[in-house]
């Protein structure tokens, strides 16, 4: 499985070099670094997924000495690595520019949110295709807008205050959330594995 992770890293190298300055640009805009980190981690994880999505590529991967379990697991494990990389950039950025330490709660929150998002995105993409994600996301976005309009909510404000609230939780509460999110992530992995093992290329 290590080889598959390495493969994704080699294939994503250029994308990562390209995204780094954009990410830093985002960070300079003083918007929520949690939000930025979330978006970029998901982008990297989904890009790694999309690179291997074509049926011909799956044919090759399955003809190589890898099992289907390893192929799916590498995507879930890779997501954690990419998130760690993004968190590292945030950490270095905060230390060098703002001379502050990124709190472990913030880092954990980024991980939790990425894992939660990927827990839905991967099984969806294995079952359908990642190209339908855009349509799905747009649909979800539309529904959110309508709901926000009906209940007169300020979505961005709500989101930020939710982030703040989560970071303000105490250690035990965060631990509980972390266990919960990890559990969702594991379930998602099992679902993706089931979908992928039935695939015909």
């Amino acid at each position: 499985m290590f080889n598959l992770l390495k493969k994704d890293f080699i294939l994503q190298k250029n994308t990562m070099i390209f995204l780094l300055p954009i990410f830093i640009l985002f960070l300079t805009q003083n918007s929520s670094s949690i939000w930025n980190a979330l978006i970029f981690s998901i982008a990297l994880a989904m890009n790694a997924f999309a690179i291997d999505e074509k049926p011909e590529i799956n044919k090759m991967l399955n003809a190589l000495p890898y099992t289907r379990k390893e192929i799916v697991s590498s995507k879930y494990f890779g997501t954690l690595l990419y998130t760690a990389l993004v968190v590292l950039v945030v950490f270095v950025w905060n230390i060098s520019i703002h001379a502050t330490l990124t709190s472990w709660k913030e880092a954990l929150l980024i991980f939790g949110l990425v894992m939660l998002a990927i827990s839905f995105l991967f099984p969806f993409s294995y079952q359908f295709k990642s190209q339908y994600l855009l349509i799905g996301t747009l649909g979800l976005f539309g529904v959110t807008m309508v709901v926000a309009r009906i209940f007169d909510l300020n979505m961005a404000g709500t989101l930020m205050s939710t982030f703040e609230y989560m970071v303000s939780l105490n250690g035990n509460e965060i631990l509980l959330l972390a266990v919960l999110v990890s559990f969702v992530y594991l379930i998602s992995w099992a679902v993706s594995l089931t979908i992928y093992s039935r695939k015909v290329f």
């Binding site: 080889n3 690179i51 003809a63 190589l64 890898y66």
Partner: protein, 289 residues
């Protein structure tokens, strides 16, 4: 003789297509040509051999091992060539090597470079610029570089120009020289087989018709030509398939000697091509539908 691949009682169905009770073996150290028309189950069979598909029923063994327990071990020893490009298109051959090398425990960089030179493959050009022939050479290079004992090829010659086809057949023959390798390749261009195949495996409509030594086909089978009066309900049974016209009939028999006994000198017999086998088998089946 040792079998490299063994399919026993394999069933696989999807939609309207069915592979039924497939029993076939591929012998070690030989080239086996795998023939059949379009859509008769060649690719399905190959996918089963490579564990890209799992059978509904029956056993698939490669090197005497089952995929359930030894998937990675088996795949370490198989090289593959598909009729489409299965590699990442936006990378170069040099980068592809970097991705594939760690996957195989027996990877041999020196051998890789040797074949790249021999096949005149560009290391620095993107895979998407490769022609069909170059892609085929790339797949072969990869297969040979990890010392694959079994090379499975799905329609390797389709879409290649005739000159390159002959070149490929020479390459395959060369690969076989050390006697340790086995090649299994599917094709519907049957003239390829006349030149290099040691064994022919023939399937039709999801069923295994036969696996024979290539030279035996000539001994057993024959194209028979004669006048139409010779045919009646009994004599027609001698043929796998028949084609009748006002000037006479032409048919395929699987028992050349018996045809001689029945018809004597009244008919002319000819050596059948593999294409004849395919054509008359299909025709024969239509007759009984």
């Amino acid at each position: 003789m040792e079998n490299v691949i063994e399919l026993k009682g394999v069933h696989k169905s999807f939609g309207s297509f069915q592979l039924t009770d497939m029993n076939l073996t591929v012998k070690k150290g030989f080239i086996t040509g795998f023939i059949g028309g379009n859509g008769v189950g060649k690719s399905t069979t190959i996918n089963l051999m490579m564990n890209l598909l799992q059978p509904d029923k029956g056993d698939v063994k490669v090197f005497g091992l089952e995929y359930k327990q030894f998937e990675k071990e088996i795949k370490q020893r198989i090289g593959f060539v598909f009729d489409e490009n299965v590699y990442y298109e936006h990378i170069t051959l040099a980068q592809l090597r970097k991705l594939l090398r760690p996957a195989y425990r027996n990877w041999d960089d020196a051998l890789f470079n040797e074949y790249v030179r021999k096949f005149e493959l560009p290391l620095k050009k993107k895979i998407k610029t490769f022609s069909k022939g170059m892609l085929m050479k790339t797949s072969l290079t990869v297969a040979l570089s990890h010392h694959a004992e079994l090379i499975i090829m799905d329609e390797p010659t389709s879409g290649l120009d005739p000159v390159f086809r002959r070149e490929l057949l020479d390459i395959l023959q060369e690969i076989m020289e050390d006697g340790t390798k086995t090649i299994f390749f599917s094709t519907h261009i049957t003239s390829d087989l006349d030149r290099i195949a040691d064994y022919i495996t023939f399937i039709h409509n999801g069923k295994h018709i036969f696996t024979k030594e290539a030279y035996r086909i000539e001994e057993d089978y024959a194209i028979v030509k004669g006048s139409i009066e010779l045919l009646d309900r009994d004599t027609e049974k001698e043929f796998i398939g028949l084609r009748k016209s006002s000037s006479g009939f032409e048919g395929l028999t699987a028992n050349k000697r018996r045809v001689h006994d029945v018809f004597g000198d009244l008919v002319v017999t000819e050596k059948p091509t593999i294409e004849d086998l395919m054509f008359y088998t299909k025709k024969g089946e239509e007759r009984y539908v």
